[in-house]
Amino acid sequence: MNKTNKKILILVVEDEKILIRTLEERLAAEGFEVTKAYDGDQGLQLALIEHPDLILLDILMPNVDGLEMLKKLREDAWGKYAPVIILTNVKDTETMAKGMGIGMDGLNNTYEYMVKTDWSLDAIIGRIRERLNI
């Protein structure tokens, strides 16, 4: 994951414009490169083409939702272990994910959940840095 010459690329998949704009500004200010998608369909395409270093994924989105996208992502050889942080406001996300057979992979710890209202931008940045070991 250490890309010395290249900027770290983060894919934000989120349908709410205000949220995506706020996240994008902050991530850019922290020196990350940001690519964004407004639903799961776009998100999956971008992920598979650009292979971002980390994906911030919303759950409730039009067309293809976050869990559906995650499920498809995991079917891809690269996507199987792509680091994902689920940023959601939906209760029971974990239960829903388990129901779809995409429970937390303990070995690779490939994704985790964060409830947006519980996390400040500062804390989210901190978590991203931890995940990327930077």
Partner: protein
Amino acid sequence: MIFVKDAKNLKFELFNHAGEMLLGQKRKDFYGKSDYDFFPKNEANFFIKKDRETLNNKKLVEILEEPIKTSNGIRFLHTKKIPLYDENGKPEFLLGISEDITERKKLEEKLKNSMEDKYRKLFESARESILILDWENGEITDSNPFVQTFLGYSADELIGKKIFEITPLNDIIKNKERFNELKEKGYAYYDNLSLETKFGEKKHVEFISNVYLVGDKKVIQCNIRDITERFILDEAKSGFLSIASHQLRTPLSMTKWVLESLIQQGSLNLKQQSKLNDLVYSNERLIKLVNDLLNVSTIDTGKLEINKKEVDILKLVNDSVESIKAFANKKQKEIKIIAPENIKNVNCDPVLVSEALENLLTNAVNYSLIGSKEIKITINDRSEDYMISVHNAGSIEKSVQEKIKKYDKFVRGANAPGIQPTGSGLGLYITKKVIEANGGSIWFESSAKDGTTFYLTIIKSKLK
């Protein structure tokens, strides 16, 4: 009817007018005659036997109900027989006093029938399924018409069968498991069971059952109430809350993050900054309220998920105190942790338990006395668990203490809104449910002299 018989030969000596009326014979016809001259042999035998019993035992014999054949048909008598003695104390006569209870008996009979009729109607017109079972083997001995309406089985199809042989009923009774439990306890209540009717419909039912005696035989009454509509409503309510919470949280997270960005830009003057901090505070309050409402809904619909882990309880307490610290400092309170050495791990859901601890600490900060600085959180080592107490110097009004003991939702002290206007009254309810879900218990003591202490217990880990 009053009569007197000779003690030796049991022949009639005296007979009164009421006796003439009752038996429809002249009294002179009785004198010098015995029962065998007037009544069928088996009746006469019975009368004579009772006469002898009275005279031999020298005491009153009472016959509560005896049939007697008269010219007016069968009558029922309540009779007392008394020995009358001569001067040597030997029975000389037998005095008989009989009351005609035929009319009373008829009336009682009628009353009994009308009661039975009333209960039968109650049973047959009930809008819930009622089954009567044999306590011994679970055989269905009666079923009301609503069973057919609801489950699709007529009384003919059910009576004589065991409850386990009928599929939807076996769904309820779970292969004798619940039947045996019911037999033992004499009572059973399940608030939500599912079954499939003969028509193939999936239904949710409430099942109430109890055991009682009919005569000397134990029977089981089962009432099955259709709660499918209520269940669907509950599901809808819970689904609505889940969606509503998302819809509420989305704008709340926008406000949260935008405010944070704005404050971080740093180009604001002090007054502007302070206004924005007020907005942050107000937004956090809304977030907390939405979280509380969601928690209550999750608890109330039985969907609270517990993820128990091995947890360092001291770290959990430290972290909870740490997260309340800024708030406590603002209120000029200091939180002191008192813990024993060598603390072992506990087994609990760390997220839920720290929420419970934070609730208690927040309350302690909010409702402590104004002059008093210190909040104390103490970990006590007990054999099976750790007891954690949270103490402050404020006290709770007596009337509110009673309410809190019920741990209802929305319980707040009369002066609480003045002290802490942001409270929802949900915190203690959530705290209790969460602690209980983790196998612990919670209680409190409060007095003006000693302040208020909330106690909760967390079970020690069995590992190591």
